[in-house]
Amino acid sequence: MPDALLSLLAFLTAAVVAAPGAATRLYPLLMLAGCVCGLLVLQILPGLPPVSAADRFLYLLPVLMLADLAETVLPTRMHRLLRSTALLTPVPLILHQSVWLTQPAAATIQGITPTGWLLLAGLTPLPLTGAVLLQRLTTGFSRPAVAAGLPLNLTCCLLCSAVVIMLGGYLKGGLLALPLAGSMLPFALRNVFAGPRPDRPLPLTYCWGSLCCLLLIGLFFGRLTPLQCSCFAAIPLVTALPLPPGSAEHCGRRQTVIRTVLTALLCSLLLYQAWSVFAVRMLPLLAHRQQLAEQPFRCCPADACSATLGQTASAGPPCVHKPPVPPHTPAG
């Protein structure tokens, strides 16, 4: 398993760097800076050329942020075009040159198999569609309660999906999301406690785009199931839906709490399910460890489970053979 202390440090570093930004107009830049600092703590640097999906995702992050920053500079139409382009990029970029799009012996059209084209056609518009829906739900209908809770819900989803990806066995994939979530946390908390400000909207392209990229990486390269992936993508949308008329509709703070609790509950369910699968997959190894512990020849108390998976075993005393104790027999 990854170093828990280092992971926490990366998360906190990202949060601390991004924190001053929550009260200024520079918050998107500081958010990105926080994420970069967190990644540096984890010693995760994008490779050049970016051959893996994780590398490509890291290069995409500034582009997503740029699309958000452009809102203040570019005319609305231009900004929309830039944001749409940025959100149409993740699927082809993440799947680039993977077995999902290319097969050595298969017939291809422009280097991509027909199945690959179908996959691209089906998945590419999803991040943009999700972003448009979220935008409508937060600003289109002027719902400050949704806008207040959405950043925290997205952060929660990002964090939980990272843990699920790590439980599936892709450690680096999950680790990538920790600085991201950390960098979003100060803005999210400020939004919840101080309320959303119209002049400081959520960098939706960055936050939602990052979640989409992470889910795609987990789904296509890790062990994230389609159901888990769909749930993590749907949670921010579901919890942003309007509540039934009369149910706390007029109390913004209570509505935010309801939405946040609902998000936490759904994420916890997914975490529990992932943990259950993890336990089942690891059962033979865990049982083996138990067997070792029960044996009279107790040997090498290293963590058999993590050691088998190639992780650092706990340091213990050298191997000591203890002969079985003969049953006590009364003298004579």
Binding site: V51, S52, S98, W100, Y170, K172, G173, A307, L309
Partner: protein
Amino acid sequence: MSVSQALLSLALCTATLLPVSASAAEEYVYDAVHSSVSFKARHLDISWIHGRFNEVDGKFSIDRQDPTKSSFQLTIKADSVDTANAARDEHLRQPDYFDTKQFPTIEFRSTKVRAIEGGYEVTGDFTMHGTTRSITIQLMGGRQIESRGVRRVGFSTELRLKRSDYNFDKNAIGPIGDEAVVIIDCEGMSK
């Protein structure tokens, strides 16, 4: 047809056929039943973890008269990694290790071959995890026999690779040694 024309035709035919007969290259395909590509890597620097790749394909062409014209190709399906532990195999397929969805094959293509005592010294491009490096291996063997009408030839080699040279995640290298020993024992069948 005049005599000169006939002679010219004969000369042309001979010229066309000569390279074929002169090239004594024997073509072989990798015999998956009687071959294996296995590996071992240090675990915590106290023991070795052993594994193998179950799906391998390849072909080689051996020119006994001019060994420099020989060639060797091997393609390993990274997804077929097998360390006798399903959970670990699943982990090895993920991007922390082989990243088999991004890099489905491990390949070797020879670029230079020369005969040495007891085999061949083969230099070639070894591609793993999206990184290609030139390596030189010593293929020992090459004895040819004919069994049930099929010509067979066998080679063995052992090579040491550093995973860090092939862009593997350095955080995943720690407990498992950086260096891996790859043992190839392959048998080729004549086409």
